[in-house]
Symmetry: C3
Subunit: 260 residues, 3 copies
Amino acid sequence: MRITLLTDFGTADGYVAAMKGMARAIAPAVIIDDASHDIPPGDVRAAAWALAAYWNRYPAATVHVVVVDPGVGGPRRPLALACADRLLVGPDNGVFTGVLTGGQEWRAVAIENADVMGDAISSTFHGRDIFMPAAAHLAAGSPLASLGPAVTDPVLLDMTAPVQSAGVITGAVVHVDHFGNLVTNVPAETVASGGVVVQIRGRRLPLSRTYSDVDRGQLLALIGSHGCVELAVRDGSAAGMLQAGRGDPVRLVPGAARST
Amino acid sequence: MRITLLTDFGTADGYVAAMKGMARAIAPAVIIDDASHDIPPGDVRAAAWALAAYWNRYPAATVHVVVVDPGVGGPRRPLALACADRLLVGPDNGVFTGVLTGGQEWRAVAIENADVMGDAISSTFHGRDIFMPAAAHLAAGSPLASLGPAVTDPVLLDMTAPVQSAGVITGAVVHVDHFGNLVTNVPAETVASGGVVVQIRGRRLPLSRTYSDVDRGQLLALIGSHGCVELAVRDGSAAGMLQAGRGDPVRLVPGAARST
Amino acid sequence: MRITLLTDFGTADGYVAAMKGMARAIAPAVIIDDASHDIPPGDVRAAAWALAAYWNRYPAATVHVVVVDPGVGGPRRPLALACADRLLVGPDNGVFTGVLTGGQEWRAVAIENADVMGDAISSTFHGRDIFMPAAAHLAAGSPLASLGPAVTDPVLLDMTAPVQSAGVITGAVVHVDHFGNLVTNVPAETVASGGVVVQIRGRRLPLSRTYSDVDRGQLLALIGSHGCVELAVRDGSAAGMLQAGRGDPVRLVPGAARST
């Protein structure tokens, strides 16, 4: 019986603690793991990215709550879903894209049953009034179907895949992490088994194995912990050095490169 | 058996972890929920605000610890109190104002019993040496009265209420939240059932229902999750747009407004 | 059965949540206390400092995980150690210096047993793939020796001690905390029982007892919660006022000072 919690609320206003309190009022001893409260405000794509890093590392029956919800109070549906024996709760705004498109079966419902919500529903804070109470009910054993009617068309973010043409793979930076690493959407499997040159912002780099393969302050390309090509600077920030960010193109061409 | 923890310590110095360790040395399996460690340093008013958002969302018997304590080591009393079946522990500097003035009965004591403190008491870190050990003893079942003598005059912050005159309500911004929302002290109940115009910094706004009632980047007034009038910018910061903050006046006048 | 977790990851990328998920896959109900995820990136010295504040405040059998690991994937060993009935897990880069040099017996091993690791080992994220799984196995009762071969020469940071000459103690600032307090390496015990003058950046200060001994905005010297001499500004930042930081010298000379 455990819940994880991901928001863009920060913690200083007591909003996150209010959510935890609502869960404990329903399931006093439930384990609540903070995932993060530092998602950039309203950045659904960043939340989807973070969720992908951990949701299926947790054991079965975990309930993952995600409240990055700029459309709160509007027409977007409150969603609960089951996939690969984990449960997920949050707004229907694309934040579950990675879960829904990972190739595993899922079931989803719109949370409409007032019995699994708080007593009063504000129009600005469904994390407290709907999502966390519903998650606590799920954690306590309520079946998914008891929360509301089935949803078969949850919102999906547009996730561009890398394209391959004449041996050249063209992808993009999809995330900049806390260390300034530039994570791309090019999976390790698509990298040619022979040599490959990674091109970004006019730089040409071989594929290294880990940070310490280069000197401090040097740029490198490597396969990151998500299994995708990543640009990094040893003991530094690739985002800062290259002035690059989400959406910037990256190209992989066959051949042997010298670091430039 | 659960404790929540609110501080202005940040986490990077290990001070918060030291507090948690002290609690676990007394009550190893106690649930400890982080409320926040990001209260602005020494900002007792911000801590009181955050606490008000969650203290009574938690179930009975929860122990809420608040350590925003610029007067540590000086004459201010270490306090423990009971209200509405919850327990609270922290410095007697006004941080519990919302709890004490909410209209519910309370009992308070000064923590003086050395048996519920750490072995050595520093003059700079009572969170570790007094508050968290005392909270763990409360969580483990020690009665409030065992901590020390009764206190009947805890410190209260000066909380200005909105004033109503000739149909006009004049209140103030009392908190700026993580999203730049400007929360006022004007409760929803005082808003006339007919139309109302919210005036702040020369802007005149109708009362909207939720963020998506206006276009992205537009300012709106609405009833926030605390049940008070709030100024917000959809997908933006009202504090930034209006260059407004705590203490700025807000006026509500009867009538129908056009958003300006 | 409890784990604490200290990293320099921030939380927004989901890396910390991935670590927690790995622990729960092995030990679903283990207590996980966040120590901090805000250590400055790669700052092993800051991590060692924070750890010293809490590791032995926790009760016996706690497993402290520290992942500040700029050398991940390189030759540095993954370490597990036992000291004073607590267990510690992290990279062999000096982060455990305070534990290893505190005068208590310790045993250490290199984590090499694949049975206590994740299924796949990346070259960039041993927190998820090695350290947290190993910690969960320790928390669940696996003996230290089962993790790998003994290590007798763990890496130690160079920790300069204050020097005493002709009654004058010369030390240094070793940490700047969240409040801008300048913590030195001069322990309270070495301070002469008579009067002492603390000299830093041309300022001469007596030893005060606590912050409220001086007026708001005034600089003072006192014995901090670590038991060492500390410079602070009441309701302000000593680091900001003195433009001082880690490594800056501090001198203690006998005599009575007037605050200047």
